[in-house]
Symmetry: C2
Subunit: 345 residues, 2 copies
């Protein structure tokens, strides 16, 4: 309909500006700006005329110019880690980019060797690149990153709770305990009574949280949460820890703190000449690609919801200057995906 035919996107001088739109609509540049940013100030017929000109010329505000004046870049920074991670970063990244785009923000990436290097990078990113805020992942006990950002007055959200309770920033997290509780309940419902837990080394954080879910579900079912082994998150150690548990032949099911350890358990079960899913049920955590490929039941984190909550929280801080209110917190519940490794057949 409108503007059929030639596309004036790239006029003689290049692209449309506020002034060129103003000239075409017969108003001042400021009025055009008002139409776009403060429509309530402009009479509706003028606004309509201006909007028509905007459409005709294919005008898009030039972000660098706006940024120079307003000191807002509409850019959020996110660190990409080198370590293998838990295998869900891809999905989180996609969801985060989508959610940011919905609110007219973009995600910009940076890397850092460790927390110290990351903290050192903050002022560079904020000063030079005018990053408006940070989305931090992988929070851990003793995490100093948020306090450094707070000192500099740079807003942030974390995906992950502040595990030492000190945090005074908005965060979004997934209730790991609820996830392992669901996994345990599922196994109990399937008739299992001796259910072991394959966890990470003890310490406050994600690992303990997930273990607590297993414990509470066992206790609630009148069972003793006493079969427990720990391992770092790799296959070799994981198999050794799983072997420990499997030495007890009465154990018929394992709840694992991660998919990697669940796979270790599956391998060890097979090595013991028993069948995964039939003789011993296994449930993992994170629902990674690996789990899908291996037919492993696993606890799935609602990453799209996490991402959109992260964006909602930080853009709320950025867009309204609502500095007074206490930081918002969001705790989401994961869901169990049942596959062959814990199939009832």
């Amino acid at each position: 309909m409108a503007g059929s035919g030639t596309d004036r996107l790239g006029g003689p001088t290049g692209r449309a500006t506020l002034s060129s739109v103003a000239a075409r609509a017969g108003v001042s540049p400021q009025t055009v700006s008002n139409v776009l940013n403060s429509p309530q100030l402009v009479r509706s017929d003028t606004a309509a005329r201006v909007r028509a000109a905007v459409r005709d010329l294919g005008y898009r505000p030039h972000r660098a110019a706006r940024q120079l004046r307003t000191r807002r870049s509409q850019v959020l920074a996110l660190r990409v880690e080198a370590s293998p991670g838990d295998g869900v970063f891809d999905r989180f990244l996609h969801a985060l980019t989508d959610a940011a785009t919905d609110r007219d923000y973009r995600i910009m990436l940076y890397t850092a060797q460790d927390d110290a290097a990351e903290i050192a990078a903050y002022s560079e990113l904020a000063d030079r690149w005018d990053v408006d805020g940070f989305v931090l992942t992988s929070t851990h006990p003793g995490d100093q990153r948020t306090s450094h950002l707070a000192e500099r007055g740079i807003p942030c959200v974390t995906f992950g709770r502040p595990w030492d309770g000190s945090g005074h920033h908005p965060w979004v997290d997934v209730d790991g305990a609820a996830g392992t509780r669901a996994a345990t309940d599922h196994l109990v419902a399937a008739g299992h009574r001796r259910i072991g837990f394959l966890g990470w080394p003890a310490g406050p954080g994600v690992g303990d949280d997930r273990q607590a879910g297993w414990e509470s579900a066992m206790t609630a079912a009148g069972l003793a949460p006493d079969r427990l082994a720990r391992s770092s998150n790799d296959l070799t150690q994981g198999r050794a820890a799983a072997a420990e548990l499997l030495n007890d032949p009465t154990i018929t099911a394992l709840v694992c703190v991660s998919d990697v350890l669940a796979l270790a358990a599956m391998a060890e079960i097979a090595a013991h000449g028993r069948k995964v899913g039939q003789d011993v049920a296994v449930v993992g955590f994170d629902d990674t690609d690996v789990a899908q490929v291996a037919g492993l039941s696993s606890v799935n984190q609602p990453l799209a919801e996490v991402a959109s909550a992260c964006i909602r929280l930080i853009t709320t801080i950025l867009d309204s200057s609502a500095a007074g209110r206490p930081p918002e917190r969001v705790l989401l519940t994961p869901s169990l995906v049942v596959r062959a490794s814990s199939g009832t057949r």
Copy 2:
């Protein structure tokens, strides 16, 4: 030494600017700019004085202001895909961000449902966000994205060859044929004679390329590349295809086009009551986390080199206005990582 004590990073008015540095050094703002951008124009003692002022004040150029003037953002855009992908995107992303940072560029993300949506997003990204260039991944036959970018005069590099030969843009790719050739050679050296190939549906692109490597290595070893099955990249279909090959009991080794299909093969081998690595050797492709966890030999892509080559190629185009020369092409050789699935024991 220099600037010990108080850090003037955040002076009374905020941050240091070109003018504040100039005032401190007793020169004009333009001279400061020249010291930083065209040092040969400035007498060395003046330059030294200016550089000292820069250090003292902790001056960092304001990117938005520079961008407004130069029409350069120092930002490259990269699409994050929704689909599960091949499991190497994380690593590529990290390497790409690192490589970009080395040359003072940053990576900004966007998403798109499909190629058409991606093409539609280009002008928005280039106009509004002033993206300097694009890094495209997942090239495929009939890919129209590069030609659309070329029409708009936006530079790009692709990770992946133009599979229909039409491409007239710089690209970086990994020699898939060389990878499967290495895998096949390794199996031949281990004494295998009947080596099957588990591939993707036929068609120009990555799949055919990897298949060609197996064929050429077999032929070179005087063996017939005649045991071949195809499947889409998922576990269920993959197991069926693997079963086809395993019906021939003389086959003792499988080269697979991807880690997912290799895992399918491993599962099927186990289901046939045979032992992976002992009775039947398996090699995958991409060396994903899955492969590491499963003890699967796999072909590893040199993603750090790919990433830095991508950045080198596109920054060369952007920084020098060397538009005349033909687009550069880089083909890198992957390396085989041997694990238990093809162990000689």
